[in-house]
Symmetry: D2
Subunit: 252 residues, 4 copies
């Protein structure tokens, strides 16, 4: 099995190395990832400048790897179109340092890389570790990444589906199980801090503080809060079909 | 009516000025837009650096305006959270220089700005001019922008819906009418050109050539190709509910 | 006389417009300047990515102008090599918003643009307005810019000399006169503020506070502090000839 | 001896690792370098955004190291002001991948880092390997780097002097010796290639082709062309004292 691995934290992040190591057991892994942090980049792609594709060496694991001065979506595009000899059997993006839950998946580079895979008709999986930034524990996430990728790929998956997996950043024995979920809601308040820089000029810096919201029991937010791994199937068709019918009666 | 106007081509683009001028007739317009080209930026937001908010003067129209060194989504976020005194009644993003149709809306900064508005529970509209880059004609688009924004806002619109409008870049008498559509499909081939820079180092540059695909008659792609204005209602919930039920039977 | 005007504050800055307007009286002005703020960029040039050259329109003055997504040195290089039909008779860079005095000229994009002109054997002049950022007054600077450029160009100037002019940001009647000076010394202390960003990650921000140093009476620092315009002739040969002879006796 | 090592090719470049390894023999080495390629950046410093300082691990050598998202000058400034407990005894910048000779030192990030050291009254040395980019050989450069740094530091060096060293990229037995030199002249022609990007928009890319010029025998250019190591003492006082006296007689 050919596995394309990418992420949005950059090729030097711990999470992608854990993921690549873990997936080596079940297939031939190729890493193509951004040369640096690209989180919250959403589905950005690079149109207006050329991209550089450089060979990358992980120091202690033998894996074909390239770093690119682009976004996660750029990486999947270039990997599929220009680097890999044949289409990979699966795209796996992660392990992200932090959750990608609910409304926040719209901003997520990790998830967007998986969406890009699905656009190319490749089964695609995004994996994130849900924990406090200070001391993220990838042990459980690493073991479950391999197990879940294997398990999902063996199913009969229709085209254009993305699996968004969030794994509590805990030791494996503390993880309670797996839940299939829908996206919950994430809201923030007091979004911008306004300060002055050392030259006296104002700036704004995003400082979203999560608001506690009662989330649906079936949501990814609730599943991970209760210590479960959350798997949410995603699509990327933004047409609002429910409203489409009503609109057809509109006079415009 | 308070109208927030933004775009992804940058505050110096012709399209945003046409839009602002046009909407002045129906409300109080405030422009908050990126300081430069940010197309194909998708739903990126800026987390890792501070943002600058600068007063901007259009030379011949009197409109409150700010430019920001961020993405379209950043602009809507900051405008709503920190610049405007009260929530605007509508967010209008555009007029984009080129189409935002079908699969491509995922990459669109224009559409993402409107999605950001909808996340804040503000009715939001993305407007793009569909034409050849060389000599885009904004006349029809300008007149219809005002007409359609007014008409949509007067309806009873549920929360979290975005209207994605694509207007042929033609004189108004050449536009055949308005169609309510769903997103079509856009596929590209030979995506990357590989060349050497003057120092002899390789680079890749995205060069997507659109593949002709038979699109659904109901699609935005077909509507605009036939000379109609396309309006597609969008949502931003990526949960694949259809597949969710099947997945609940999976053994993982 | 063909005059090339550039700066490092970007083509939208007030200073460059004042300068261009002022120099129109004595020659044919062409503006080629960075598309945005590039201060403290020193003599950087852009090697690893392509540059975009876009036509720019000043709204109320008729001047040929281009904006470039590069540094001040890039602008002079491209203007001379690829935009202008013939070599300009003089390169004038400014009017910078703030002083370029003493040691600080090493970091100055304004001065570097003039150095780039001198490298091309074109007489080159850097002009800066010395005042508090809050309410810089360009009136005196604008009038003297024209007067001094005219006066300098009429002299017999050897190749490879740059004139670094600092003008107090005052009304013209408050300016006491002109002094020919040498570069003084500028020292800063407590150079970096260390803070945490909204995500709790540390960052450093340059916050140089000028140390009061007793400067030579002949220095540019002293001249401007006393209300005089300072003109310093600069060269760009960094060889330390004085020490070269001593070093020749070294055993290495 | 405390040695601060930096460069402009970025902390992942081969040259800086060779240099750090080599200098470990004669002192305590700390590496503080840009997180990525910053060549041709000149003396740029970062004023308008915060800088990130991250711990960096070389995989097989034990050296204290930090990477910074800034320029070479930023790295020296932060290292001296905020990272190192006491002022280093010497700043060594390199080993640059390619020459820094003649006029080109003005653009060099490698040399500017050394100038920044000298501004802080620290003896400072820039080291570059002169060879074809394809297969740069650092062996001779590595051995001589250590030897020359040691030899220079033992001399009695006045403040504010920078040593600019260019070493042929050859095996050590092919290097003919050491010459104390002055900066030569480097001129380029046909500086910009103009092309169209895949969207049909023009761009310019710097493509300087070196012009053969008869250089002074005493120049760094000639020394390295003949297989010698070149050492040039530099200063950073740009005042043109020779011309200053003449100018004092000018009527302005």
């Amino acid at each position: 099995m050919q596995i394309l691995v990418t992420n949005d934290d950059g090729i030097n992040a711990i999470g992608i190395r854990k993921l690549a190591e873990s997936l080596k057991k079940i297939g031939k892994v190729t890493v193509v990832a951004p040369d640096r942090q690209r989180s919250a980049i959403g589905h950005a792609i690079t149109l207006h400048k050329p991209l550089r594709v450089d060979r990358f060496e992980f120091n202690d694991i033998e894996i074909d790897a390239w770093s690119i001065n682009g976004t996660p979506s750029d990486c999947v595009k270039i990997a599929v179109e220009s680097i890999l000899e044949k289409k990979p059997d699966v795209v796996v993006s992660g392990i992200n340092d932090g959750p990608n839950l609910g409304t926040d998946v719209l901003y997520s580079g990790t998830v967007s890389a998986a969406i890009e895979g699905a656009i190319h008709n490749i089964p695609s999986i995004a994996i994130s570790a849900v924990g406090s930034k200070e001391k993220i524990n990838y042990e459980g996430a690493k073991i479950y990444s391999c197990k879940l990728v294997k398990s999902i790929i063996e199913k009969d998956i229709p085209n254009n589906i993305i699996f968004n997996i969030n794994i509590p950043a805990l030791y494996i024995e503390k993880i309670k199980g797996i839940k299939v979920t829908e996206l919950g809601i994430r809201k923030y308040k007091n979004n911008y801090i306004k300060r002055k820089d050392p030259m006296g000029k104002s700036y704004y810096w995003l400082a979203g503080k999560l608001i506690e919201i009662e989330n649906n029991k079936e949501s990814d937010v609730m599943a991970t809060e209760s210590g479960y791994i959350s798997i949410t199937p995603l699509h990327f068709n933004l047409t609002n079909y429910d409203f489409l019918d009503e609109m057809k009666n509109w006079e415009l």
